[in-house]
């Protein structure tokens, strides 16, 4: 076994003036001005056991083994509610119960996210595109570098990165590095402690 998961727990909790600071797990800033919408986007395909349209409420509900296949992600859950606006882009989707999302970020890294609930929101204000997926309820993101938990975890799809309040990260480390660093005390500062 070449890989050992060395655990470094970092709690970016509320301390002094930096309380509730958002942990940003990317280097790209959010809410950038949107570029002209020119690229055609592949459609999103959803499979489920059953489906309901409440046309008076302009809402549709997918139930049972819901599978969403989107160009940016794959999502599974038990219950998916899609709002149908009278015009324009679908702007609000709620996924509930055993939500699992797999997506590839802008660095080509595969991410695996789980939560009790995920809420997709889309809007464009002053030429700025905001497209987010907010994970709540045992929200967790895993990738090759770390496992992160937070409440909520917000995936910014417009910029393809995610942020969270009170984000806790458990880093993965190679066996060689881990053997030299065993029994080290846990980090106690507010700084993000990456494995050495």
């Amino acid at each position: 076994m070449k890989i050992l998961y060395a655990i470094v727990i970092v709690v970016l909790a509320g301390f002094a003036a930096r309380a509730q600071t958002n942990a940003e797990v990317s280097t790209i800033a959010t809410n950038q001005p949107a570029a002209p919408a020119t690229e055609p986007r592949a459609p999103t395909v959803i499979h489920s056991e059953s489906w309901v349209l409440d046309n008076a409420a302009r809402q549709t509900i997918y139930r049972g083994n819901v599978h969403v296949d989107d160009p940016q992600m794959k999502l599974t859950c038990a219950w998916l509610v899609v709002d149908l606006p009278e015009s324009g882009h679908i702007n609000h989707i709620v996924a509930e119960t055993n939500v699992v999302i797999d997506f590839v970020d802008d660095k080509g890294q595969t991410n695996h996210a789980t939560s009790d609930r995920a809420i997709y929101d889309f809007n464009v204000k002053d030429s700025v595109t905001n497209e987010t997926v907010t994970l709540t309820g045992n929200a967790r993101v895993e990738n090759a570098q770390y496992t992160g938990t937070g409440e909520p975890i917000v995936w910014d799809r417009a910029n393809n990165h995610f942020t969270s309040t009170n984000f806790t990260m458990i880093f993965r480390q190679s066996l060689d590095n881990a053997l030299h660093k065993t029994n080290s005390p846990p980090a106690t500062t507010n700084e993000l402690a990456a494995p050495k």
């Binding site: 059953s50 349209l53 997918y62 149908l84 882009h89």
Partner: protein, 143 residues
């Protein structure tokens, strides 16, 4: 309820005609919005053939359901090879396949077994649901 049933058979003369035994071709049932929009069509049910069944039911072939917004824009277009339309309870149902377009092609869904409740605009598909949502062109954030 502003429902109008039209049983039309287009023969050589082009006049509406109902066949013996109540069987009709080119069935159309139309509902309009309530006042003050009573001139605006809300829902149109249609079928190539309609065969009356006991209890106020109609066995409809090549069923088509269309709904329209207050501004007259098409909203839902659904079709099924066949269904049973309940004229008393204003429902349409079938164990068969249904295809539906919503919002001028932005949203598509299909599946097997459906129930349409006209009174509250409620549609249920019971099995094997597959849906396609066409999102807007990709809005990528500027660097």
């Amino acid at each position: 309820m502003a429902f109008i049933f039209l049983f039309l058979t287009f023969g050589l003369s082009g006049r509406a005609q109902q066949k013996a035994g109540g069987h009709a071709n080119n069935f159309i049932s139309t509902e309009y919005y309530e006042a003050p929009h009573q001139q605006q069509m809300k829902t149109r049910l249609s079928g190539a053939e309609a065969q009356p069944l006991p209890g106020g039911l109609l066995d409809i072939k090549n069923f088509k359901l269309e709904t329209f917004t207050l501004s007259g824009q098409p909203e839902i277009t659904a079709s099924a090879p066949e269904c049973v339309y309940d004229t008393i309870n204003e429902t349409a149902s079938s164990p068969g396949h249904l295809q539906l377009d919503y919002g001028a092609g932005k949203f598509y869904v299909e599946g097997d077994g459906f129930l349409w409740r006209q009174t509250n605009s409620f549609l249920t598909i019971s099995n094997h649901v597959r849906s396609v949502i066409k999102m807007s062109p990709e809005n990528k954030a500027a660097p």
